[in-house]
């Protein structure tokens, strides 16, 4: 059975690493490399998982230190942009000695295909993990067409 098409593509300048994992499937050929982060690394890229559910896709993003108020999810044409700001958990006066987690805001952009029902995208944040539900559009779901038996009628 061929792998089902995936209606989301991660487009954050990591395209080279994405080759061959099937994520390129199911997308229109337009804009092969649409997004490049700027020259200065201002944002942190949150690590994500994506898995399939019967109704669509679920995207989990690690956003430690972020509250609901600080997370924004923007959808513009087929680009979904996730932004979040973590609050510093220590007093201002404390001087950093080591910062493996840099203080900048999180940002990551994804390309959605038409298979995602944009009107029903929902998100929740718990313990610093964002759960984004990307339901499949009705017309993208596999449909069973019933065949009525005509025996006995003709």
């Amino acid at each position: 059975m061929p792998a089902p098409e995936l209606p989301i593509r991660v487009a954050d300048g990591r395209d080279d690493a994405d080759r061959g994992d099937g994520l390129e499937q199911g997308f229109p050929a337009r804009s092969p490399r649409p997004i490049r982060p700027g020259p200065s690394p201002v944002f942190r890229t949150p690590p994500i998982d994506i898995f399939e559910e019967p109704g669509g896709l679920v995207l989990l993003a690690d956003l430690p230190g972020c509250s609901e108020d600080s997370v924004s999810i923007e959808l513009e044409s087929n680009l979904l942009t996730l932004r979040a700001e973590a609050s510093r958990p220590v007093p201002e006066g404390a001087g950093p000695m080591l910062e493996e987690a840099p203080p900048g805001p999180f940002q990551r952009t994804f390309i959605l295909s038409d298979e995602v029902d944009r009107s029903r995208i929902s998100a929740e944040l718990k313990h610093g993990v964002l759960r984004l539900r990307l339901p499949k559009a009705e017309r993208a779901k596999p449909r069973r067409i019933e065949i009525r038996g005509m025996d006995g009628e003709g």
Binding site: L6, V10, D12, G13, R14, A17, D21, G22, L23, P37, P39, P41, F43, R44, T45, P47, I48, D49, I50, F51, E52, E53, L57, L60, D62, L63, P64, G65, C66, S67, A86, S87, P89, V90, P91, G93, A94, G95, P96, M97, L98, E99, E100, A101, K126, H127, G128, V129
Partner: protein, 145 residues
């Protein structure tokens, strides 16, 4: 275990990461490709105490073990994948899971009885008071005249 010791503020790896990142134009792209220690740790000095923060998204406070031995604070636990998600349904896996442990050896003696920890929004914050002898002090110079 991701042991961690330092003598001062200089983190050679950070400089190398920044330099390499600058050359390639994007540090964060690099850091996702290179295996990172889990959890990421930040350390701060506030004069009479240290702050240790660790990014542990998706974990609950009861799943974190915190231990102190001498000048070393160790945190450990296990981060489990979400339950009920069959392996074959994953399309992308970047988040790190499994058993983890990190320890930090502080350059000054610490007041182990005074250590406290809190956990919110996936960030563990440990407050580590310095031993009274290790706190910065101002000593008044008296005139002998």
């Amino acid at each position: 275990m991701g042991g961690l010791q330092w003598q001062g503020q200089w983190d050679p790896f950070r400089e190398i990461r920044q330099e390499v990142g600058r050359l390639l134009g994007n540090i964060e792209t690099m850091s996702l490709r290179v295996p990172r220690p889990f959890p990421a740790i930040n350390l701060y000095d506030e004069g009479d105490r240290y702050y240790l923060t660790a990014e542990l998204p998706g974990i609950s406070a009861s799943e974190i073990d915190l231990g102190i031995a001498g000048q070393t604070v160790t945190i450990r636990g296990e981060r489990r994948r979400p339950e009920g998600v069959p392996e074959e349904t994953y399309r992308r896996q970047e988040r790190q899971f499994g058993r983890w442990a990190r320890s930090v050896t502080f350059p000054d003696r610490i007041d182990s009885a005074g250590v406290s920890a809190s956990f919110a929004r996936g960030i563990l914050t440990v407050v580590v008071p310095k031993n009274a002898d290790a706190r910065p002090r101002q000593i008044a110079v008296s005139s002998a005249e």
